[in-house]
Symmetry: none
């Protein structure tokens, strides 16, 4: 995507705003759903982590639904530091779900993400490199991905848009359209029974990076906060 | 596949090593998973049976998951004596699952083997020739296959690779990539209710050829033993 | 299919034999499965009804599994009088399931009949013409088919083959390959809760035309009677 320098500048200001102006943040999304109703290049939600995201392991979970189909990338989660896409999760053009730790990604064949909610978790551990997606409590085949790698701290987490190579370079055709709820994140790998309990809506140890009930977030553009009903 | 005689020789030594050097074997995989993370022509696990595999009936069970898709053979289980592929189980190019008792195979239309674990059993009895796969406790249609046949003893069992025509002639494009756990084998046909109990993780009569909890095995190449979680 | 008159004659004798020589019949298939292992033009099972099949309503149930796929007709049940296919059930080339009462058929889009057993019932009532298939206890949409029609008595019921236009004209490419069990038939329409109970293996009113536990049958060609396990 080619952007005029003016547009880049404008977008960058918006994004810097998110990070800088914490007073505009809101707190807590328990029993709420984020609805991204349209394809845009300006709607996103910034999430402010409870602790720095210098990570050697993590579990990231969310419930997600989309009407989008066909040959189109969809950004599901983006964590970026100034120079790197530290942790990005995509639904790829070919339907696979992939995640990227600053570089080439790991691609998984999962059941399609549909108009019905999918409970999606992703676990990764630096020591072994073992990475897996969990769909409605069922684990995918492990892949060995970037053993020894460390995710860098002090970045920005976005839902709805990918803050591409330049912070603030947003692209409508990669944007997320649909619903996200119950996003939680831990700085370690949850055991199977906890991921399954989470899928079934039971209470488990609260996320120490993101806890949906008390999450700090900032809405931008056309995103709705709706009762989960 | 064309191999230089040097490579054949080298591979043969590796494989002979498995059978010969039992001191290098390890014992017991209870609550463990074998992860074959990459496509290779050198990663495999040799399994040492508790009793000779001269068989006129058997039940072979395992839980298996793979990311591999599309037009590619995948070896799931290989038992070979010097001159014969005694008992091979394949995911075929066209997606069917087949097994071979030294000769032409029996092909079954089963649900695809995916990134999520499939509980797969295979039963065969020489007297009637009745053969069936069991997927997550459900039996396929019976096929009549090689009634009267006897599987020969004193061979080598491999996971991850097919020890083709020449013992040690391995081929990356047939190799297994994914996970195997809970492999058990009996020298008789288990009744339906036991196969179903096994699928649901209940305890049943231990395999008298292979018992995953106490199985003797030898790792070769790039295979990981991971906690089942 | 073109048959020499000799072959027609020979086949006709076989079929006449079934009906004529009742002393060769066997009785009772409780906990047994009929396995049709190969595609043939000579393997079938004749079923002898408990009462004449002059019918103005019926419920026909069976459990059926097949490995056959693709563009091929499969006969599931054939009841023929000298001049008419009185009641035939087919898996059609396009995958639909159809039934015919001497003439054009009624076609239903059902889930595919696979290698795993499908519990299949068919109900029809002359008064209203209401016809439906029931798959694993779930009813298809009703179709109105031949209201006022009466099925003629004094015919022959076959599994495995369609006794085409001429009694005894069998065709391998329409033959059934797979398994049939628990075939029961009533001369009235069973209510939903009984069809569902049957699917779950509960005891209900015994079939007054066919009762699997006490059914009178005659095996022909390559058909196996196997313990249901």
């Amino acid at each position: 995507m080619i952007l005029s320098s003016e547009k880049i500048a404008a977008s960058a200001i918006v994004l810097l705003g998110i990070v800088g102006v914490t007073s505009a943040s809101e707190v807590g999304l328990g029993r709420k759903v984020l609805v991204f109703p349209y394809e845009t290049d300006f709607s996103f939600v910034a999430l402010i982590p409870q602790k720095e995201m210098g990570l050697r392991a993590f579990t990231l979970c969310m419930r997600v639904a989309t009407e989008l189909e066909g040959e189109r990338q969809i950004i599901l989660f983006a964590y970026r530091t100034p120079d790197y896409d530290e942790l990005n999760v995509w639904r790829e053009k070919d339907g696979r779900v992939a995640f990227y730790l600053s570089g080439d990604g790991a691609f998984f064949h999962l059941p399609p993400i549909t108009t019905f909610r999918t409970s999606l978790c992703l676990t990764w551990e630096s020591r072994t490199g073992l990475a897996a997606f969990w769909v409605d409590g069922r684990r995918s085949t492990y892949q060995v991905y970037k053993p020894g790698h460390t995710i860098r701290p002090k970045g920005t987490v976005l839902l709805g848009q990918d803050a591409d190579k330049h912070l603030g370079d947003l692209e409508a055709l990669q944007s997320f359209v649909g619903e996200v709820t119950d996003l939680n994140m831990w700085d370690y790998v949850l055991p199977r029974r906890q991921i399954q309990a989470l899928h079934y809506g039971h209470k488990i140890t609260k996320g120490n990076i993101f806890d949906w009930a008390t999450i700090e977030y900032q809405l931008n553009g056309n995103v709705m906060v709706v009762d989960d009903d």
